[in-house]
Amino acid sequence: MISTTTSQDARPTRADALRVEGVSKQFAGTGAPVLDGIDLTLRPGEFVCLLGASGCGKSTLLSILAGLERPTAGTVHVPGGSAALMFQEPALLPWLTATRNIELALRLNGVPAAQRSARAAELLDLVHLAGAGAKRVHELSGGMRQRVALARALAQDRPVLLMDEPFAALDAITRDLLHDELERIWQRTGRTVVFVTHNVREAVRLGQRVLLMSSRPGRIVREWTVDIEGHRRIEAPQVAALAVEITDHLRKEIRRHAV
């Protein structure tokens, strides 16, 4: 059975959690299902990292949550009706300036023309790019592009923000900084975040919960609650310790596929 329930209320409430129940996905003509019986509930405002090796279907799950693909079975409930999505590539439109990219998202979200420019300026300021609004995409560094992409995703004004390996293509210094940025913005905006990555330390650095997925078929096989109080640096010993434990499980999962 396929059904997608939507809600008009954009304010997250306890009852309005992101719920995934028994979601499976099988592409026509191929053998094993990509996703098999995924159950997942996110508290409003929760930050969850989805971790897994290649082929575990984490991007497919994200596409289903974003409404770009339909599950073969199961139900999905996304508060606010649809979710904002950030890609691995900044995916900014190169013929528009940073400001115009954000304004387009506002326009497509039905924000009246009179409010767009002020709102776009606010969002650029939120990602610390107040001075770069007039720049075109190619004049921005990779990190700045992803911050504009984040501002654009926030412009969609959805309670749920989906992120598909958004920092995978960045250098380590920039990535560290963007972890801080994202954490700050998450705390300020109260978004529910589903963050897909294959970087274990990144998952531990950011997530309140880390979910490990198996590959072919994609299932959630293990779950960790990361309870590190306050600011955690990626180099912190607690982060490293948990990352080692999770990596061991991830490797065990990958070894199962050896022939």
Binding site: D36, G37, I38, D39, A66, S82, A84, F87, E89, A91, L93, P94, W95, L96, L104, A105, R107, L108, N109, H128, A132, R136, V137, H138, E139, L140, S141, G142, G143, M144, R152, Q156, I173, T174, L177, D180, E181, E183, R184, Q187, R219, I220, V221, R222, E223, W224, T225, V226, D227, I228, E229, G230, H231, R232, R233, A236, Q238, A241, L242, E245
Partner: protein, 305 residues
């Protein structure tokens, strides 16, 4: 159920540092990772770029004059640059050059504008509608290969010696190029941009208006550029072949008149005028438009360095 195997581990650790982003660190990184485009450098590069073609033109003219000075051929068969310049001045004083220029330019422009008006909706439909694409695509590519001069005899039979003949040939030359340019422009739009449009909540029309059309613009402009070149060529071919009747006197007619009178200097003068119009439209309009378009998108050679 996979949730049976789900294990929950809780890791507790003390607080470390307050969660505060170092803005100076971030600003420093932004400054290090972006390169400023400077405008002056661009102007200087363009000026430096103008020298080689100018020098080549001068050398060509000098070589031509040198060959004529050797006296191997009579001047009425191979006239020199000075002879041609003299004829051009004469044509200018008589007003023939201006008449021919304005007539041809007016026709070329009008034909081009009509071609754009026809080709743009056709191109969009062919690019977006699958069955139109499958059925008409090969035909339009074929039409682009067909020299539009081939339409002149048919046009004369249908429309007689009138301006309609000239415009018909121009349209048959320009429309397929513009359609093809637009179709390939739409084809080259990265699928990621369409996904972005969908994620941002664009409806079908908004997707075309805000994503597809702007993304396809470079291909469209390349098609327009080629469409103009085809218009101009077709126009000259039509004017050379279809002379007399109610057809006005254009550059092609001037060229044909020179041939009839065996006046080589007029023939070359007409060729020079045709060439100058083509190069001027290219350099003064299409080249800057295309360059600006690519530069703003970070696609030009200057920004790729």
């Amino acid at each position: 159920m996979p949730s049976d195997s789900t294990v929950r581990t809780v890791l507790q650790a003390p607080a470390t540092e307050p969660s505060d982003v170092d803005r100076r660190l971030e600003a420093g990184l932004d400054a290090l990772q972006t390169v400023d485009q400077n405008r002056a450098g661009r102007v200087r590069r363009r000026l430096t770029g103008a020298w080689p073609p100018a020098l080549a033109l001068l050398l060509l003219l000098a070589g031509w004059q040198g060959f004529v000075a050797l006296g191997l051929k009579p001047r009425y068969v191979v006239p020199g640059p000075t002879d041609v310049a003299g004829t051009l001045l004469g044509l200018w004083h008589a007003g023939d050059a201006q008449t021919a220029l304005l007539t041809s330019l007016g026709r070329g422009l009008a034909g081009f504008v009509v071609a754009v008006a026809i080709a743009t909706p056709v191109g969009l439909l062919v690019a977006r509608v699958r069955w139109l694409r499958v059925s008409l695509g090969p035909l339009i590519s074929g039409l682009q290969v067909l020299p539009s001069v081939a339409w002149v005899p048919a046009a004369i039979i249908w429309f007689g010696l009138s301006d309609a003949t000239v415009y018909f040939v121009v349209l048959m030359g320009a429309v397929p190029s513009i359609v093809n340019g637009l179709v390939s422009g739409v084809d080259q739009v990265p699928p990621l941009f369409r996904r972005v449009g969908r994620v941002l909540g664009a409806g079908p029309w908004q997707q075309v208006r805000y994503v597809l059309l702007p993304a396809a613009l470079p291909g469209y402009v390349a098609g327009l550029r080629q469409g103009w070149a085809f218009s101009w060529r077709s126009l000259m071919a039509a004017e050379i072949i279809a002379v007399g009747g109610k057809i006005g006197f254009g550059l092609g007619s001037l060229l044909e008149q020179g041939r009839e009178l065996s006046d080589m200097t007029t023939v070359i003068a007409a060729i020079v005028l045709i060439l100058v119009v083509g190069v001027t439209v290219e350099l003064a309009f299409f080249a800057p438009v295309e360059r600006g378009l690519l530069r703003r998108r970070g696609l030009s050679a200057e920004t790729a360095r």
